[in-house]
């Protein structure tokens, strides 16, 4: 197997991924036989309304599905089959090779520990023999990389002392300490103000550029993916509706559902957007 060949292989290859919850009336499938690829260093947007199964998809990749959920299909990450890994082996992947940014930065940070402790936590648990001082250094560096000013001082602060946008920066800094190959961001901007949203998206794009990590961005907001993703997967009620390059899906959506989602996005050319919305509504 040559090096060039290996580079052609996608970083993440998902085939027939199904997530189901067994209920009294048979299994409810929240993700139905999903196929997609993510190229090395690529940015994939998974788009859908709430209940479309996009968050479950990300948790399925991380192996963090809620109790009782059943996962079938194949998730191949960098040549390794994640579904075949034991929990212990999966722990080594999580945080080290695949890192995740969650939606609500306040509830996703533990109020009892300083942000520095929490940022360095992954580093300390994946490396052995890390001193307290090294861990602190790593935390400060990670905070500087997400442009938190005065990081050397802020490293000792608690999550509640940060604003919403800053907390999300802390969450992103958390993923950086281990230089992961893949970052999954699940609705990273939903809980934030519009102006802050743009900053966080810029930051994600910058990190992807600088580190070469692959990015999966999960959102209900097409405006958000349009800035970052080069590939799109559109989901609805667990089904894959449409996928393709971002450019293709935006300019030439093939499915009516995708078109509907697109038309709901406010455009700069406001009038046309308005016109389109009305026609879309008439069409239905």
């Amino acid at each position: 197997m040559t090096a060039s060949h290996e580079d052609e292989r996608p970083l993440l290859r998902v085939r027939g991924l199904t997530v189901a919850f067994p209920t009294a009336a048979g299994a409810t499938e929240v993700v139905k036989s999903l196929d997609f690829d993510l190229a090395r260093g690529g940015a994939l947007g998974i788009v859908g309304e709430s209940g479309s199964g996009k968050s479950m998809t990300s948790l399925a990749i991380m192996g963090l599905l809620p109790k009782g959920a059943e996962r079938t299909g194949s998730i191949e990450f960098d040549g390794a089959e994640l579904t075949a890994l034991k929990e212990r082996e999966m722990q080594a992947v999580r945080g080290d090779r695949i890192a995740m940014v969650f939606q609500d930065p306040l509830s996703s940070l533990n109020p009892y520990y300083t942000v520095g402790t929490q940022i360095a936590e992954a580093y300390r648990s994946h490396r052995t023999g890390v001193t307290r001082r090294q861990a602190r250094r790593v935390a400060i560096e990670a905070m500087e990389r997400v442009h938190i000013r005065d990081a050397a001082r802020r490293v000792d602060h608690y999550p509640h002392q940060f604003s919403g946008g800053m907390r999300q920066r802390v969450m992103i800094a958390m993923t950086l300490s281990m230089e992961p190959d893949l970052i999954i961001a699940d609705e990273p901007t939903t809980a934030l103000d519009v102006t802050v949203q743009a900053q966080i998206l810029d930051l994600l794009a910058e990190i992807r550029r600088d580190t070469g990590a692959g990015l999966i961005l999960i959102t209900h907001d097409l405006a958000v993916v349009s800035e970052v993703a080069d590939h799109l997967v559109v989901m609805r009620e667990g089904d894959l509706v449409e996928q393709g390059t971002a450019e293709r899906v935006f300019c030439d959506p093939r499915e009516p559902y995708t078109r509907m989602l697109l038309d709901a996005v406010p455009r700069i050319d406001d009038e046309i957007g308005l016109l389109k919305t009305t026609t879309a509504e008439e069409d239905r």
Partner: protein, 332 residues
């Protein structure tokens, strides 16, 4: 921080003052004339007047109350001339029955009560938290349901019924334990433990049950927190996720409630000490009730109120110390 502390202290002073006033009104206004009671059966009106004058009962209510408060903080003198008795602060007056200073009576019996209370507190904290943890880990399984049953029993059994049952079973029938007596630890640690074991169990059972439930609920709730998911997403081992991200947030509220419950133990000790005949402050209060010895009852009541109020304050301070959200306030 300092302002919070000052506010707390002021609030505490107000509550204690009100407790004093309330108790005082109840005892010295509503209840039958203590002078008649002290004097006994063969009593002349002159003797009663004499007692009244000595105790200051001939004074108007407010004067009496201020004298009482003064006695608490600075001590007071009963009677005049040769009959004068000095009562040093904190003066709670004299027992109607034994004529001993109430403060001394309480202090004498405090060690026994403290032994009973501290032992019970240790027991219920250990038993409650560990049973709660087991319950949370085995949620819905047999162990969880078994503990839930025990918890309900523990919450429902009146402690004097438990005391009598245990005593009948372990002492009378099986002879495994001695009749509880206040053995000093220094004399014989083994005997000390054997003697106090039943009182500890009886006094702690209700609280242990409540703490089991609380721990279970808190742990289960914390495990659903988003930050626990974050911790798992970082690749931490389950043990580390548990220790760092589930236990600390789940147990913090328990530590703080513990302070309050511990301070409120005197009420429970009343029944426990009475049933086992242990000569502590609780037994003192119970005995004084039967003898209608008001200064003693009042002294114990004030002590109990003091403990609860101080306990409340310690809890608040403790909370500021262990919960960063309260500690630093929302600066930045």
């Amino acid at each position: 921080m300092i302002r919070v502390l000052v506010n707390r202290l002021l609030g505490m002073a107000v509550v204690l003052f009100l407790v004093c006033a309330f108790t005082y009104v109840i005892f010295f206004v509503l209840s039958p004339d203590p002078a008649v009671q002290i004097c006994g059966k063969n009593c002349t009106p002159e003797a009663i007047d004499q007692i009244r004058a000595n105790l200051g009962l001939d004074q108007p209510f407010w004067t009496q109350f201020w004298t009482f408060l003064g006695g608490l903080f600075a001590g007071r003198t009963y009677g005049t001339g040769a009959n004068a008795i000095e009562c040093v602060a904190p003066c709670l007056g004299y027992s109607f029955q034994s004529s001993q200073p109430v403060t001394d009576m309480i202090l004498q019996r405090l060690p026994v009560s403290v032994t009973v209370a501290v032992g019970a507190a240790v027991l219920w904290l250990l038993a409650g938290v560990s049973a709660g943890l087991v319950s949370a880990v085995r949620e819905g399984r047999f162990a969880d349901r078994f503990i839930a049953g025990l918890t309900l029993t523990g919450m429902s059994v009146p402690n004097y019924v438990l005391a009598l049952s245990l005593q009948f079973l372990l002492v009378v029938t099986l002879g495994w334990l001695p009749f509880p007596q206040a053995v000093a630890f220094g004399d014989d640690p083994g005997q000390w433990f054997a003697n106090f074991l039943m009182p500890w169990i009886v006094l702690s059972i209700g609280a242990a049950a409540v703490y089991t439930r609380l721990t279970r609920a808190n742990v289960i709730e914390t495990l659903q927190e988003n930050y626990v998911r974050t911790a798992r997403a970082k690749g931490l081992s389950p043990g580390l996720v548990w220790r760092r991200h589930a236990l600390r947030p789940a147990l913090t509220p328990i530590v703080t409630i513990f302070g309050m419950d511990f301070a409120g133990l005197l009420g429970g000790a009343l029944i426990t000490e009475t049933v086992f005949g242990l000569n502590g402050v609780g037994k003192l209060a119970a005995d004084s009730i039967t003898k209608n010895d008001q200064p003693v009852i009042m002294g114990v009541t004030l002590l109990a109120a003091f403990l609860v109020v101080v306990g409340n304050m310690v809890v608040d301070l403790l909370y500021t110390a262990i919960d960063p959200r309260v500690r630093v306030g929302s600066s930045a």
